[in-house]
């Protein structure tokens, strides 16, 4: 009986260890915050009265989203990614979703990998015509009437791509097509975390649609967590 209990305890310990090992990052982590200094441009309310089915979805008008800030000068919708130091990776099988809802792109900034399947859907009662404007990838624009099937697309080169709707001029979003899986988009309070980085030297880049990009080098040894913060200069106009 005692032997059996010993076995069970051993098995349980093993299981717990396995869970811990699995949950632990297999390398170092780079984390930090993106903030701004200065006065960012005032975001303007969007008048959608010409599209009543969209206008009624917003109790108060939504605003433009070219600069989205959080408390304590934090900056959202910044793509933070490893621009050098890791090899290019194949796309994961997971599909990323981009939605048109209330005549707005959700999310405003969508990051995904080269050749990863992008699924674009229209939840509105009106037609949209999605038109991403790449410079190095193939350009296309597609109409999507209400109730139609999602559109599947892929991009085969890394690029930041502005997205517009050919029918609703105020609709604006961004695709960030990444070379590897080490990226994050700041949400809420400007925070980001890039995990699972094996020991080595990396270049971390932060990209913002209005403020451009900036990079910092960081060296990771073991499973340490390094802090990298970015500060963008905001302009009122």
């Amino acid at each position: 009986m005692r032997v059996k209990a010993g076995y069970l305890a051993g098995l349980a310990t093993l299981a717990v260890c396995a869970v811990i090992v699995h949950a632990m990052p297999s390398g170092g982590t780079v984390s930090g915050k993106v903030t701004y200094e200065g006065t960012p441009a005032k975001q303007k309310p969007i008048d959608m009265s010409k599209e009543p089915s969209c206008a009624k979805q917003h109790a108060t008008p939504i605003t433009t989203e070219t600069v989205v800030t959080g408390s304590n000068n934090t900056l959202d919708n910044v793509v933070v990614y490893v621009s050098a130091g890791v090899p290019d990776e194949n796309a994961p099988g997971q599909v990323v979703k981009f939605e048109q809802k209330g005549c707005q792109y959700i999310p405003h900034v969508l990051a995904f990998q080269v050749n990863q399947t992008l699924e674009i859907s229209n939840a509105d009662q009106t037609s949209h015509n999605i038109h991403p404007l790449p410079k190095v990838n193939r350009e296309w624009n597609k109409s999507q009437p209400p109730g139609s099937a999602p559109i599947s697309e892929k991009y085969d080169k890394p690029e930041f791509i502005p997205v517009k709707c050919n029918i609703h001029p105020w609709m604006h979003g961004n695709f960030a097509v990444m070379k590897n899986s080490h990226y994050a988009v700041t949400q809420g309070e400007g925070g980001f975390s890039l995990a699972n980085l094996p020991p080595g030297k990396y270049t971390i880049t932060a990209w913002h649609e209005s403020y451009g990009d900036q990079s910092q080098d960081v060296t990771i040894s073991g499973s340490e967590t390094k802090t990298v913060n970015f500060v963008f200069k905001a302009k009122p106009y």
């Binding site: 303007k44 959608m48 009265s49 010409k50």
Partner: protein, 267 residues
């Protein structure tokens, strides 16, 4: 068979005239100071055209009834002077009618399009682009800042191409997606096309004017009734043309001022 055709002609003619004569099609409400002249001109045109149409059709029916089944073998009689005289008479009659309509109608037209607006007219600029209208008010300084097409950034709410970083005048310009105007005040609307040809049409204002890319056209009008009316694009401008519209909001002066103040705070 000929007599049957004559009967059908009379029935079709009278049935077509009936809804017009009895005013079955109601005109949309007229909210402009010049609209009555346009309506009168339309009524005159409809009356003249209507009389000519009904008269010609009934005359045709009469001749068909009288002569279609003739089998007595007698020679056809022509009007003296032959076909040439008939054609010439028709030309003169129709020409006179068209000329008369033109001479009578030029006043209605010229009052809207060929007279300058009053000096105190409220200037508003409209920009038409695929597939929306935007309107710009000069703001506190009373001046429109220059436009820089390269600065147009619709995702950022910069529909006109303003450059507030370098043009101080641009900072107070008010941009809205609805044309809001005060009642009983003359509006001088400057039309500017961003991309292709569009058209500004408000049926209640009895105004329709094309936007032509590269040309600065203008309109002036005075709205006399408050309310919300539809502005539609009436020039096929592309895939989303069906969806290109905006609203005209005619407000009492004090409501307009409040609206303008609220918009100014948003810029």
């Amino acid at each position: 068979m000929g007599k049957f055709f004559a009967v059908i002609l009379v029935v079709v003619t009278l049935a077509s005239a009936y809804p017009i004569v009895t005013h079955k099609y109601v005109q949309p409400v007229d909210i402009s100071t010049h609209g009555h002249a346009i309506d009168e001109q339309l009524a005159d045109t409809m009356a003249e055209g209507g009389f000519a149409f009904v008269g010609a059709q009934l005359l045709l029916a009469f001749f068909v009834w009288k002569f279609s089944s003739r089998k007595d073998g007698s020679k056809v009689k022509h009007l003296p002077g032959g076909a040439k005289l008939v054609v010439a008479t028709a030309f003169i009659l129709v020409g006179t009618e068209v000329l008369a309509l033109g001479v009578l109608g030029q006043k209605a037209w010229a009052d809207v399009y060929f007279t300058p607006p009053k000096a105190d007219a409220l200037q508003i600029q409209s920009q038409a682009g695929q597939f929306a209208f935007y309107f710009r008010y000069p703001g506190a300084d009373g001046k429109f800042a220059p436009l820089h097409p390269d600065k147009i950034d619709e995702g950022n709410g910069n529909y006109f191409g303003l450059d507030p970083a370098n043009d101080v005048e641009a900072r107070d310009d008010i941009v809205a997606a609805e044309l809001t105007i005060p009642v009983n005040r003359e509006i001088h609307l400057l039309l500017h096309a961003k991309d292709v040809g569009h058209s500004f049409y408000v049926r209640e204002l009895r105004i329709q004017q094309d936007f032509v890319p590269g040309l600065d056209l203008s309109l002036h009008f005075t709205a006399t009734k408050t309310g919300k009316y539809e502005i539609v694009c009436t020039q096929l401008c592309g895939l989303g043309h069906y969806n290109m519209k905006a609203y005209l909001n005619v407000l009492p002066q004090e409501d307009f001022e409040k609206w303008l103040k609220d918009r100014a705070a948003e810029q």
